[in-house]
C-alpha cells in the first residue's frame, strides 16, 4: 500500500524515512509521493550512438563501461544542459534518500516533464529496502525537442510502499543507517 502525504511526513519526522536535504520547500511532498530534484553531475555518452561496439550486459563491469564511454557534465554552477531528442543522460537526485527495511520505494516521472517526452528511468524504478544514497536517474528524451535540464529542478517523484514484513535480504549493518 502506498504511503499518503500524512504518512510520509510522519515517517520523515520520525526519521524512519530520510530525505536529505529535508523537503521543507512547499509542495515537495505530494498526496502520495515526494518530489526530488536534479543534482548537478550528469554523465553523457561521448558519442551517441556508439558505432561498432556491442555490449554484453551479463559480463561487462558497469563502472568500467561508464568510465570508458561517458563524460561528466557539471551544471551546478553553469548553464542548463540540453538533452537532445533521442539521447540518454545518467543523473542523480539532489536528495539523499534513506529507507528502512520495511519500506520500498518506486521512482516515477513527473507528468509535466513526460508531456515533453522526458523519462527518468529505463524500466528500473525499484528502490530496495535499506537503500541509503542518491537515486540514479536514467533519462531519455523521447520527444521531438531538445530539453533543458537545470540544477535543482524537480525531476522525479518517489512513492513509498510498506512491505508486509521487513525484507529478509535487507542489509542490517552498523554503517548503513547514519
Amino acid at each position: 500500500m502506498l504511503l499518503s502525504d500524512g504518512e510520509i511526513w510522519e515517517a520523515l519526522e520520525a526519521r524512519h524515512i530520510v530525505i536529505d536535504p529535508y523537503p521543507n520547500i512547499s509542495g515537495l511532498v505530494q498526496a502520495s509521493s515526494a518530489d526530488l530534484r536534479l543534482a548537478g553531475d550528469l554523465l553523457v555518452h561521448r558519442d551517441s550512438p556508439v558505432e561498432g561496439v556491442t555490449i554484453d550486459p551479463t559480463t561487462v563491469d558497469v563502472m568500467d563501461h561508464l568510465r570508458s564511454y561517458c563524460r561528466s557534465v557539471d551544471i551546478s554552477n553553469g548553464p542548463p544542459f540540453e538533452i537532445r531528442r533521442n539521447s540518454f543522460v545518467i543523473a542523480q537526485t539532489l536528495e539523499r534518500v534513506e529507507l528502512p527495511l520495511d519500506l520500498a520505494a518506486r521512482l516515477e516521472g513527473r507528468s509535466s516533464l513526460a508531456r515533453f517526452g522526458l523519462t527518468v528511468h529505463v524500466t528500473a524504478p525499484k528502490i530496495d529496502p535499506g537503500f541509503n544514497g542518491n537515486i540514479t536517474l536514467e533519462m531519455f528524451n523521447l520527444g521531438p525537442f531538445a530539453l533543458k535540464l537545470s540544477y535543482g529542478m524537480r525531476i522525479c517523484s518517489l512513492t513509498f510502499e510498506r512491505l508486509g514484513r521487513p525484507a529478509n535480504r535487507g542489509y542490517r549493518g552498523q554503517f548503513q543507517i547514519s
Binding site: L66, S72, Q92, F131, T136
Partner: protein, 97 residues
C-alpha cells in the same frame, strides 16, 4: 514443493577482505564495483563507496540465511540493487569458527 531459504532472525555480520586494485568507482555517485576472491571462488558486487573500510581493506556484509549447503550473504543496497551471494557454508565456517 520448492524449499525456500531459511532466514536468520539475527543476521551475522561478516567482513570480506578485498584488494584495492580490484575496486572500480562509479564516475557518478558514491558507488563502486568490487571483485574479490574468497576461498578460491570469485565474486562481484556493487556497494556504496562509504561502506569500504579502506584501513582494514574490507567490505561489510551480513549472512541473512541459508539454502541447502549455501549461505546467503547480502551487501548494502545501491541504485543497482542489492547483491546477495550464495557462498558455500563450508567456506564461511573456515573464517567464522
Amino acid at each position: 514443493m520448492i524449499a525456500q531459504p531459511t532466514w536468520y532472525d539475527t543476521p551475522i555480520h561478516i567482513d570480506f577482505p578485498v584488494e584495492e586494485e580490484r575496486i572500480k568507482h562509479s564516475p557518478l555517485g558514491n558507488e563502486m564495483s568490487v571483485t574479490f576472491q574468497f576461498c578460491g571462488d570469485e565474486y562481484y558486487v556493487i556497494i556504496p563507496t562509504h561502506m569500504w573500510d579502506r584501513t582494514a581493506s574490507t567490505i561489510p556484509a551480513v549472512q541473512v540465511g541459508e539454502w541447502g549447503d549455501m549461505v546467503l550473504v547480502s551487501f548494502p543496497p545501491t541504485s543497482l540493487g542489492t547483491y546477495t551471494l550464495e557462498i558455500p557454508k563450508s567456506s564461511l565456517e573456515l573464517i567464522t569458527e
